[in-house]
Symmetry: C2
Subunit: 417 residues, 2 copies
């Protein structure tokens, strides 16, 4: 269950009524592009794709020997799987993310792994990502050196259905390859094989994850009053003059979720609009309670330049009572309370304290942290982002601003020797 | 070696001359408080404290049995040790940070640890941090249940020299206790036992760390032209109208450094000034190259509302050449290059692309990522922050804005049943 709370934004229901035509028009404009080639709306259909899920499950069952899973991928190819694996891993398989190009940690990783028990998953939609290809050269070389011809069983690629270097490699060498559907971009790909394959090895409940995502789809298309993503999109639209959108999550298991949201929000919406104006707000990742001891001082007394989203679980999966320990009477006020109750009290206290400080803040309550609620939340946030693209007049599905960096990298790489 | 580069901010040397009186006055005002009770400037002296370092080393040598190190602490008690341990751990001791209060991960951790091989370090300046006390109840109970009277050897506290619950516990039970000097606050405590104790168990080179920090002290007090912290403080001062201060680090080993900086900057400077005005800029954590695929689109095409600091290493400690792998001719442009060269090319390309987009950006170059350069960088950033406190008219060493949250937490905790 995902629930929006706007108790500290009292005029919101009037705003919702006033903006109904705008919101419904934005939704209509978005849905009108569904199925159009190049519209990149394939993420809407991923929660229904049970055939891919079956294939992935079969592959996981065929490879029970895997003890270490190395994901070579960066940005949208790593942030989603990492967030979900950290939350729901249950199989004992160890995960390693090579989403960087620093030599020392990669050297250390290669020394620590047993190649016979390692599965390498190279993930890139285009197949041309420099960081991923660099990592792949190192791991391919390492697998071949240790396993000879058997290396092919230890490398699986997730990439475009037809084009690019990874697809070509898989074709030439007979590697297992999973497809990222043509109409699904990197930051919208967590429910494609990009996320599902690692999560199958992590032992996460993928049926529940997709079921939750289907719930978000339902709500996205529902009448305005029940359409959560239209409502949260409006919240961001009404506060677009505030430069910073804080995304603060009260769950240690979800510690990598803010980074996934940052990419989704920033790379989708930080754009020139049709008139060439610079639009977008800057997502700021935050965790509760850690950031009560880091960022909340600024949120309370610093500039009122933020819209804050608090993601708060309403109940634990399994709680821990705090034992009365005679040696520590100073902590007596905690005896007999539970850990989750402390967590919840801190979240509610922060929510209220931020509102009292004059910041704009709302909450998304999760009934609990589970694959079902997080599947729902992820797909919800994708809809929110897509709606905001319509409202702000930008294409939420491209990233023209990163091209210059790629060209310059190549130039620096060639030029320096 | 730490080096400031302002090539894309051409007017900076004139600005430095024009602001010389202001900067020198700020430094004088800060240094005039040195030694005053309650000024909280003890962090300036930590790099010279070799006696504490000796004690910590002795303690580490007396406890060679430790295989798992559990740090109970949050905010300034965890962010610094975590950043440095992730960068420089070399001993094989496994580190676990209980800097949260979510029941499920703590339950899992307790089940996975061998109490006979585990050292628990409870860290809180005040000794009153609710999250840390909650964790301590659980771990104390667990140690006693498994070890009986021997539990006392497995718990060490780092806290105020005299007051608070942790100091009292240590006194009553005869536990080993390390002192956070009275004049050192949490977010300035990384070079006190807060950081040094875990890092001794991690096997990091603490002499080099403190030597680097002494270099920053030297520069802080040097004539303006050589005073790196005064210069970077001025950069932030000149851009204080921009709401966002991006701190982007091109090093996977330093992946937790941005979170440490966020606390230092936000909690020190996000304040009401003497006239009651809300001041402070919001630090935004970023990593290279990961965020080229996440935030750089927004940095390039979104609003020009940021000052960006790029932290870039100039050479690797140990590089990795990219092997020419016949199976992957599409990556031919990388054959024979090294991984670090790719990293450096990406950093330089991003630096230039951000400047060309019209963002305000400067670089801090590290000769390499080592305890020496990072000790230097950390202490440099503490000086920068302290100088900014003077320039912005706020007390960089208190955190009044978090008190309401603490009171409300207690109320919610008591009230709900």
């Amino acid at each position: 269950m995902l629930r929006l709370d706007t108790r500290f934004l009292p005029g919101f229901s009037e705003e919702l009524k006033a903006h109904a035509p705008l919101l419904l028009e934005a939704r209509e404009a978005l849905l009108a592009k569904r199925g159009q080639k190049g519209a990149m709306l394939g993420w809407m259909d991923l929660p229904e794709d049970t055939e891919t899920l079956r294939e992935i499950r079969r592959f996981r069952e065929q490879n029970p020997w895997v003890e270490d899973f190395v994901l070579l991928g960066i940005g949208g190819s790593a942030l989603g799987p990492k967030a979900l694996e950290a939350a729901f891993a249950d199989s004992g398989v160890r995960f390693h993310y090579v989403d960087h190009v620093e030599p020392e940690p990669i050297r250390k990783l290669l020394q620590s792994l047993n190649p016979h028990k390692t599965l390498v998953n190279a993930v890139s939609k285009s197949g041309a990502t420099a960081e991923t290809l660099a990592g792949l050269l190192l791991f391919l070389d390492w697998l071949k050196a240790h396993l000879g011809e058997a290396w092919r069983r230890h490398l699986v690629v997730t990439t475009d259905p037809k084009g690019g270097a990874l697809r070509a490699l898989a074709g030439r060498e007979g590697l297992r390859a999973f497809a990222i559907p043509e109409e699904v971009g990197g930051r919208f790909s967590v429910l494609s094989p990009v996320g599902l394959l690692p999560l199958a090895f992590a032992g996460a409940d993928l049926d529940a994850l997709l079921m939750g995502a289907r719930k978000a789809n339902e709500q996205a298309l529902a009448p305005l009053e029940e359409s959560l993503p239209l409502k949260t999109a409006l919240l961001h639209h009404l506060h677009r003059h505030l430069p910073i959108a804080v995304f603060m999550v009260y769950s240690e298991r979800l510690r990598y979720l803010p980074a996934w949201f940052v990419q989704l929000h920033d790379e989708s919406l930080g754009k020139r609009d049709q008139e060439g104006r610079r639009v977008g707000t800057t997502a700021l990742p935050a965790l509760g309670p850690q950031d009560q001891h880091a960022q909340v001082q600024l949120f309370r007394e610093g500039p009122l330049d933020k819209l804050l989203t608090l993601v708060i679980p309403e109940s634990p999966v399994e709680d821990l009572p705090l034992p009365p320990v005679g040696e520590l009477p100073e902590a007596g006020y905690l005896f007999g309370k539970t850990l989750f109750r402390l967590l919840k009290a801190e979240a509610e206290a922060t929510y209220q304290a931020l509102a009292e400080a004059g910041q704009r803040v709302y909450a998304l309550y999760l009934s609990e942290v589970s694959p079902y609620t997080i599947g729902w939340l992820l797909q919800h946030l994708m809809w929110q982002t897509a709606f905001l693209g319509e409202l702000w007049g930008v294409n939420a599905f491209d990233q023209p601003g990163v091209e210059l960096g790629k060209r310059l990298t190549r130039a620096f790489l060639e030029g320096e020797g």
